[in-house]
């Protein structure tokens, strides 16, 4: 029996690009929303030219970075700099449930396509804007990108070893999980409200404020005069809590001893390697010797195989896991691959390539990666004909005028 996807019947008019927005709309698409991604040959999504790239020479259709964020979507080529595009967007809005955009504040309004304009076409529209620092305030129109946000939010400062420059997470983390997921959550809450009341609404997600929410305790500690500082892998409430070398080139094991039972388990597991510290049965006493414990533990782990060591520590009730690289994760038999965390899809230009699977897993109406990322403009014709009901003459005219491009 085929199950109807939970968001089937929901249409999303998607102007988001680059980082966070496209992952938010992909989440909706995975669960059945019809997402129409609007871009143009004049201004394609910049990720289309961003590595990693599949082999070949196509200038816009080879990026794995782009593909993963845009699976399950349709692509509609529309040159927003052309005056006639506004009418096309209004026609699209009329048949859409959600409009999402991540432009600098004022961009949609400049085109006459702000919230007030679009709700004149679709009264119960849910309209999501995802500006970097909000639509108001003295920094609202400041430019920036993923790395800017990591720096602005405090995340960069809080990560890394205390004796060196701050390093952040090594990624534009806010773009990959906190901001897309907060955005998806807000849209889903608004859809739920609309289903119960018929009322649409405007949602503003400041990417800075969204990111600050996953760092909330750091801010609230600063507010009471106790600001945290970067501490490598250490945390106040556990010891040892770190990442230690194992056999192999650049191979590591994460070990975290969160309480005294786990410490006793660690002492048993390492068979005397931590003997000088065996009396340190309280957190406070271990903290007083943290560097020495870490050093001694490193001496013990570095002679050992990661997986074997992880299994040994687990068998003694100690949280431990081998650090996985992308190659490890994608290898046949890896636990995440076995769980189905990755899927491979065929793409007309890229061939077969990997996508993150839909998470979370819903038991009765699961989401899925059904189609690879779209070629730019792949669905323009079909959408004009079937969804907007444009005549052949009109479509040809819009093409000739450079509107649909």
């Amino acid at each position: 029996m085929s199950v109807t996807l939970p968001l089937s019947g929901i249409r999303v008019l998607d102007f988001t690009w680059v980082g966070a927005g496209p992952l938010a709309t992909r989440f909706l698409a995975d669960f059945g929303a019809e997402v129409i991604k609007v871009e143009s040959r004049q201004r394609p999504d910049p990720l289309r030219i961003t590595p990693p790239l599949a082999r070949g020479t196509d200038p816009l259709e080879r990026s794995g970075y782009f593909a993963n964020r845009n699976a399950n979507k349709k692509s509609f080529a529309l040159n927003m700099e052309h005056a006639e595009s506004r009418e096309v967007v209004m026609d699209l809005a009329r048949v859409s449930d959600v409009c999402a955009q991540s432009f600098r504040p004022g961009t949609m309004e400049k085109w006459g396509l702000g919230y007030a304009d679009l709700t004149s076409a679709r009264r119960d529209l849910i309209y999501l804007s995802m500006p970097l620092q909000g639509n108001s305030g003295p920094h609202a129109t400041f430019s920036g990108f993923g790395a800017t946000l990591v720096a602005l939010s405090g995340l960069h400062d809080l990560c890394g070893d205390p004796d060196r420059l701050p390093v952040g997470t090594g990624t534009n983390y806010p773009d990959h999980v906190p901001n897309p997921m907060h955005a998806a959550i807000a849209v889903l809450a608004a859809l739920f409200h609309r289903r119960r009341t018929g009322q649409g609404q405007e949602i503003e997600l400041s990417q800075l404020e969204s990111t600050l929410n996953v760092l909330g305790p750091a801010l609230e500690k600063a507010l009471v005069g106790d600001p945290p500082a970067r501490a490598g892998n250490r945390v106040v409430h556990a010891c040892p809590h770190g990442v230690f070398p194992v056999l192999g080139v650049d191979r590591w094991i994460a070990i975290s001893v969160m309480n005294d039972d786990e410490w006793r388990g660690l002492l048993d597991a390492v068979g005397g390697a931590l003997l000088p510290f065996s009396d340190l049965v309280s957190l406070a006493s271990r903290k007083a010797h943290e560097a020495e414990i870490e050093d001694r533990l490193s001496q013990w782990t570095k002679e050992r195989d990661g997986e074997t060591t992880s299994e040994l520590l687990q068998s003694h009730g100690v949280p431990a896991a081998v650090l996985q690289t992308a190659a490890d994760l994608l290898a046949e038999g890896s636990s995440l691959r076995e769980r189905g965390a990755f899927v491979w899809k065929d793409h007309p230009v890229m061939g077969r390539s990997v996508y993150s699977a839909t998470t979370p897993r819903l038991s009765r109406t699961p989401g899925a990666v059904r189609t690879a990322a779209p070629l730019l403009g792949a669905d323009t014709e079909e959408i004009c004909l079937e969804l907007l009901g444009y005549s052949r003459e009109r479509i040809d005219g819009l093409r000739e005028a450079g509107v649909l491009n």
Binding site: V177, F192, K221, V243, A321, L330
Partner: protein
């Protein structure tokens, strides 16, 4: 009216799933958190810092169960019979002998969030933490210095990622239930959640055979990365990709300001990424630029950098943020029961985010 008005959520969770409860509560659900028994704490991941607890739980009602375990099990069964969503994260609920599968038949409209370190089908007796799940999902490997061990993301981000997916899954299931009348299970694994945060690392290996690793404070390239200011650090990105014009704008600013050796940065070899990635290029740029940048505060560099279209951002500390003029102008920080608290992750026009426990709870 709140988005989730009338939705009752029962939370049995350590920090792994606690942010999911917070998200649902602040969208208007009535979230009842059942505090774990003290003897369970060793198997649960709970940051003992009271600030963390207040942040995660201030919008929930909190109860403790009868200390008699069999009476507590009865209480739980009663509580479940009156709720729409169960957040079942960590081992707390299982230790009362509650079998989630039993409810598939008896309460088919129930939505059950199962949030675990490695997935609900994984070995029950695995020992995990935010750090080990970050390692298992690969996220840990991208941060830190190449000559040292990788370093974690601050603030239990693996747990936050798992919670975000759980909350989003709950909302999909609630939306679907309005049409079908049926609930379902939502399965979130923290290590899988962390593996969605790898940026493009999976695709780099798949398409180009490259294993991405940690790179220290930024790109190993002159013009891109972390540099000193008078009061801390800034993140600068000029020269690379679309920021080429930023290089010229930056050098112009430095020249106007009379910065020593700024003219050298106009030499043709700086146009080449090959030169910018040499040790000599990186060291020389740092000397010249920091001779300039350490004369200004990071906020001042940011404002003037914006005026001149230069991608430069202050590396804010939490203390910088609580006096940030943009956040202040937007009223981001609010007050709750006499404390200043973190504001909303999103602003919904008709059904606003709210902190604290709803009136009808």
């Amino acid at each position: 009216m709140d988005s989730l008005e009338g939705i009752r959520v029962l939370e049995f969770s350590d920090d792994l799933g606690a942010y999911a409860g917070k998200v649902l509560a602040e969208l208007g659900a009535d979230v009842l958190r059942v505090e774990p028994r003290l003897d369970m704490l060793n198997r649960l991941s709970i940051d003992p810092d009271v600030t963390v607890g207040r942040f995660l739980h201030r919008s929930k009602r909190v109860i403790t169960l009868n200390p008699d375990s069999s009476l507590a099990t009865e209480e739980i069964e009663q509580l479940i019979s009156g709720c729409d969503v169960v957040i079942d994260a960590g081992s707390q609920l299982a230790s009362y002998g509650i079998d989630r599968h039993a409810y598939v038949v008896s309460r088919p409209e129930l939505i059950w969030l199962r949030v675990t370190p490695h997935g609900q089908e994984s070995v029950e007796d695995q020992w995990s933490s935010d750090l080990t799940c970050s390692a298992a999902g690969g996220f840990l490997g991208l941060g830190g210095w190449p000559d040292r061990a990788p370093t974690r993301a601050y603030g239990d981000q693996t747990w936050r990622m798992a919670s975000l997916y759980a909350a989003a899954g709950a909302l999909v299931a609630l939306y679907e239930r309005e049409a079908s009348g049926h609930g379902q299970e939502v399965d979130v694994a923290a290590d899988e959640a962390a593996a969605t945060g790898l940026e493009n690392a999976l695709q780099f290996f798949d398409l180009e055979g490259q294993v991405r690793k940690r790179v220290g404070a930024g790109y190993a390239e002159a013009g891109s990365g972390v540099y000193a200011s008078a009061d801390g650090h800034v993140f600068l990105m000029v020269g690379r990709l679309s920021t080429r014009a930023g290089w010229a704008n930056l050098v112009q600013w430095m020249v106007e300001d009379g910065a020593l050796r700024a003219e050298e940065l106009r030499d043709a070899h700086w146009q080449s990424q090959d030169y910018r990635t040499t040790t000599e290029g990186q060291t020389t740029f740092r000397e010249i630029f920091e001779g300039f940048s350490t004369r200004f505060g990071k906020a001042e560099l940011y404002l003037e950098g914006q005026r001149r279209s230069i991608a430069l951002a202050p590396i804010n500390s939490p203390t910088d943020l609580i006096s940030n003029e943009q956040l202040a102008a937007r009223g981001f920080f609010g007050e709750f029961e006499g404390e200043i608290v973190c504001g909303p992750p999103y602003r919904l026009g008709a059904t606003p985010w709210r902190v604290g426990i709803g009136e009808d709870a």
